[in-house]
Symmetry: C2
Amino acid sequence: MMKDFECTQESYAREVLREKGLKSTAQRLAVVHVLHTSGKSLSVGEIHDGVKDMLGATGLATIYRTLEMFEDLGIVKRLHFPDGRHGYAFSQGEHVHHMVCVDCRGVFDFPECPVESFDYSSIEKQGFRVKDHFVQLFGQCLKCAEAA
Amino acid sequence: MMKDFECTQESYAREVLREKGLKSTAQRLAVVHVLHTSGKSLSVGEIHDGVKDMLGATGLATIYRTLEMFEDLGIVKRLHFPDGRHGYAFSQGEHVHHMVCVDCRGVFDFPECPVESFDYSSIEKQGFRVKDHFVQLFGQCLKCAEAA
DNA sequence: AGCTAATTGAAAATCATTCTCATTTAATAA
DNA sequence: TTATTAAATGAGAATGATTTTCAATTAGCT
């Protein structure tokens, strides 16, 4: 197949995949395309629908497999919502944090790390070694604020 | 029923429930007890098992209902793990963040907010209004570090 | 002790995720 | 190009997690 929806994000995914000896399949690139062009976080079902729109019938299992792999590769990030649901957002690069609009689920990256400058000494005095963190901001984007 | 496993945490839960006109059932207090005495985050199944140990046969649906309610009330917090699983931890009070040991899933609270002092101006320039945040630290606790 | 709305239990229903395995395909080399 | 081959996919079954339903029970009042 291999349609021509190539853009920066697809090229990036291609490269990461090639580096790891993984195949750049139409399904995988379509997942990137759907996530990136939506500009917001999507549920697994929404991603599946988007990919089906591009490629026709596509197995749901493939979407799950792709998302899991992409998360390991740092190409997508799983986000958690207050209502218990979760979604995925495109996420070029390793250490990026996300701000999610609670109305439209739009995702905005910010490379500055809010916990970078935090003083962990009180935690580490208890013997804890902090190795990683998950930070996600919730709020309202301009569009949704105006619409309200 | 109403066994006597009353401690600070159960009293706290009782009070929050009463304030909202909700009933302090044996099942609800047992959920608090199990979570608090474990000192770590537990899966829904583990909480169910713990409650069954205390009370005998207990419906799983009740555990789900209780955890959802307790999360709204700020009595428990849902935590997300890197492997996609999630768990619940006791969480007295509203704004507490959690540090999770990736080995034993032990939970340590810290009231200092790591993003409190973060300068959101670059985000807010784009029209974003930050309203809430989810922060979770991962690492290794003293015991697990020594055991390794 | 009795009343009543809230809560529970049990099982069915629903929804999400993973697995299996036969078929297809991307990447590589001839 | 074409052939080769390991990797990836699709379809559906299997599994697992969560929610719903509704009759029976119970906590929190008189």
